[in-house]
């Protein structure tokens, strides 16, 4: 089983990356060059909130996606993790972005809210 060890290394690298980065996005492509509309939208929402995040491109090796889905029990890409926990894919991130929950989860100010409040200040 020559493949067993490299796969475990990928598994370990993924769990380590999730635990080391407060906000980490597994996506297709890179934030500058997303390779899928769902990944692009998720990146755009994070960037709109000004939240710093680490990004991992799953495309270079299919085992990254296999191991990631085995760890998260989540079948699709992108996957956003905050403080070691899966927050969701594009649908959930979009719902949370629209409700202001995403800003809260990320610990940043919701730009929509600050725009609303601006005239009062």
């Amino acid at each position: 089983m020559p493949d067993a060890e490299p796969t475990n290394q990928i598994h370990d690298a993924i769990t380590q990356a999730i635990s080391e980065h407060e906000v980490i996005l597994f996506m297709k492509g890179t934030p500058d060059a997303p390779a899928c509309g769902f990944s692009a939208r998720t990146v755009a929402m994070l960037q709109d909130l000004g939240a710093p995040f680490a990004a991992v491109d799953v495309l270079p090796d299919p085992r990254i996606r296999e191991e990631l889905s085995a760890i998260s029990q989540w079948p699709t890409i992108p996957q956003l993790f905050v403080k070691g926990e899966l927050v969701g894919g594009c649908d959930i991130v979009t719902e949370m972005y629209e409700s202001g929950e995403l800003a809260q989860t990320l610990g940043v100010e919701d730009p929509a809210e600050s725009r609303q409040n601006a005239p009062l200040l």
Binding site: W74, P75, T76, G88, D91
Partner: protein, 76 residues
């Protein structure tokens, strides 16, 4: 190739009391958008709710079903 009607029926058959509205997002038979309402979602997080729906299709998600965009809710 799955179609919207088949996806709707499979969700409704697998999750007790579920009602699903499914549309073929691109018309290409591989990107679907579903709104699912089910009593089973009550008290579960969004992640758990979406997982319940994804489980219906297993490895087909990411395969023949390239994308299944979900919105889940429990009945009012």
């Amino acid at each position: 190739m799955p179609n919207a009607q088949e996806i709707k029926q499979r969700i409704e058959a697998a999750i007790p009391g579920a009602q699903a509205e499914v549309e073929d997002w691109t018309g290409g038979g591989d990107h679907f958008k579903a709104t699912v309402t089910a009593p089973a979602f009550q008290g579960r997080s969004r992640i758990e709710q979406h997982k319940l729906v994804y489980e219906v299709f297993g490895a087909e998600i990411g395969g023949p079903i390239h994308a299944l965009s979900l919105k889940t809710q429990s009945p009012q």
